[in-house]
């Protein structure tokens, strides 16, 4: 009998030919999963070595402790024997091993159950992404339409929601958001003032930092920063809340009770954000100006009075109300995106996380798109 030894990190595997037609797989030592798994490719190699064996058997006399590591190896060998139609004698293996193998093979693999790995080219992926974006936009606009109709029903008294729900959301996306809005927009004001000051100092025009910060904040940055903060904070929260409600069938419970989830859950959220974002925008404008003033007074030695007078001259009411209008639109976009993604949430806890992420991405992307459209339209209108 010719024997070939293959040392393995877990146990020991060796091969022998009892005669020219039988391959003996000898298992010895302890086979533990934690020491690594030997692959069945060693058996495959032996089967391909001339003279090719016509049957396979085992020698487990030296086998010590074993766990599912041995079982995994043997299942691989079984698969090879099955594919090559090679008869195998499993009887020398311990009874427990044979019992577990029978259990694992008791139910045949269901046809089509295994997910096939999908390989697609870059162009194909790009196409898929483009279609996905178009579909997402279509879903968003359809949902926006449904929300508009629900508001129309609300206006004629055919839709209702609980006032207490509206108040809770108003508190959450209004008063509770002041801290983060204060911090972020003050720092945005500081950054704008710094960037402007570096350039304007060269011309001795540091007073125009007030114009730069004031105009930037009131026209766009106040509304934009408030919107981005709310997309990350409140839009994600809306998606997570509604997503969780979907997972726990609370939304189904509303539907089967004849209560429209759109009216009951979406209307208070959209209303609250529509009302609160403009107020946050006003606050953001003020904090941005305060940040600019802080830089001007402390570093450029401009007096606070001069800074505020310059700011007052630079900002017009049109700019101010334009910024508020933009903020209100951004509020609707963020609330609708958050609620839509919440309703589209799957039925697992990880799907809730995905819904929150998608709500933030959708909210911010559409806010930026809206900002671009506003810039064009306001320019055409000369505002």
């Amino acid at each position: 009998m010719q024997a070939i030894k293959q040392s393995q990190p877990s146990g020991e595997l060796s091969f022998a030919r009892s005669d020219n037609s039988t391959l003996v797989v000898r298992l010895s030592g302890d086979w533990h999963l934690r020491h690594g798994l030997p692959g069945p490719d060693l058996v495959l190699k032996q089967l391909d070595t001339a003279p090719k064996p016509a049957r396979l058997t085992f020698d487990a006399a030296g086998l010590g402790d074993w766990d599912s590591g041995l079982l995994t190896f043997l299942m691989g060998v079984s698969e090879i024997c099955h594919t090559r139609k090679l008869p195998a004698d499993w009887s020398p293996l311990p009874e427990g091993v044979r019992g577990l193998m029978q259990l694992a093979e008791a139910v045949p693999e269901k046809t089509g159950a295994r997910h096939e790995a999908a390989h697609s080219s870059f162009i194909e992926q790009l196409g898929r992404e483009a279609i996905s974006f178009a579909r997402s936009l279509d879903e968003f606009l359809s949902f926006l339409g449904e929300v508009t109709l629900a508001f129309a029903r609300l206006a004629v008294g055919k839709a209702r929601f609980r006032r207490v729900d509206l108040m809770i959301v108003i508190q959450d996306c209004g008063a509770n958001a002041f801290g983060i809005v204060t911090l972020v927009t003050f720092l945005v004001g500081v950054i704008l003032a710094f960037e402007g000051a570096v350039q304007l100092q060269q011309f001795g025009a540091t007073i125009f930092v007030a114009d730069l910060v004031g105009i930037a904040m009131t026209r766009d940055m106040g509304a934009m920063m408030a919107a981005i903060i709310m997309a990350g904070r409140t839009g994600a929260a809306f998606a997570a809340q509604l997503g969780s409600m979907k997972v726990t069938q609370e939304i189904d419970a509303l539907t089967t009770m004849g209560i429209s989830p759109l009216e009951f859950l979406v209307l208070p959220r959209v209303t609250a954000l529509f009302l609160m974002i403009p107020l946050l925008c006003v606050f953001a404008d003020c904090m941005g100006v305060a940040g600019g003033a802080f830089v001007s007074v402390t570093m450029l030695h401009t007096s606070l009075r001069s800074y505020l007078i310059e700011t007052k001259h630079a900002i017009t009411l049109t700019m101010f109300f334009g910024g508020l209008f933009k903020a209100a639109v951004y509020g609707i976009i963020i609330a609708v995106a958050g609620c839509l993604r919440g309703f589209q949430c799957g039925n697992s806890s990880s799907a809730v996380g995905d819904a929150a992420t998608k709500a933030v991405v959708t909210g911010i992307v559409y806010v930026i798109v809206a900002c671009g459209i506003f810039a064009f339209v306001f320019n055409v209108l000369g505002i």
């Binding site: 409600m245 726990t248 419970a253 539907t255 089967t256 429209s260």
Partner: protein, 282 residues
Amino acid sequence: MATTPSPIKSSDGKGLSVPKFPKDGPPPITVKNLTMAYGTFVLMKDVNFTVNHGDIFIIMGGSGSGKSTLLRHMLGLIEPAKGEVWYGDFNFTRGEPLEREEMLRHFGVLYQGGALWSSMTLAENVGLPLGEFTDLSEPEILEVASLKLALVGLKGFEGYYPSQISGGMQKRAGLARAIALDPEILFFDEPSAGLDPISSRLLDDLILELRDNLGATIVVVTHELASIFAIGNNSVFLDAESRTVIAQGDPKDLLAHSTDHRVQTFLTRGGEDAEKSARNHG
């Protein structure tokens, strides 16, 4: 509980003609040639059955056979690929959205986990449908909600939030909400799931009480044999392999007379002696 008409409002604000499903009228539920599918994958085809007045109708079958999906089709949460669901003489599948919404007010549904609205107290959960669909004042709503909670053994828990009570209590609170409007048809999705044997038995008793005292027709999705034999008097058996209904009738009759080995295997826990099983389940 009295079987007096409930003061439910229709969408035009007028009272509904009650009862919606008179005993001398057509069966309260008829499912005709229903095919359930997810995209191109057909889950169940040609499902036909009738639920009669006062039935406790069991939808049973193995895991993944489509029991809960069938329930969702019956409730209009999923549109069928083919076929129709009728409630009395109303074609629910083809009905107008407003008419369907109105029909839903005659149903009560208990979901697997209770599905209580987590931001509301138990009294608010039970009171919400009362506030939406009746002309009751706030104190009256609270009074009725307290009564419903007392009926399911939750007297004194009106001010608790769902997160403050156990899973079994959440299920009972869900039941209190389901019967808030004295519905004529009650749907239960896996009522015993996650409950200990005693709570499960108590819930079965409660279902029987509701059928007897509320006069409701009840549809229960379950694969708990003890519940099936204890409460069911009519059933369908869904088979995942053939994707069809393979047996209908009283579960006890199916156990005694069905010659289908799949039904026998299921009803005898995979081959347990049939006589023993019948003895155990009365």
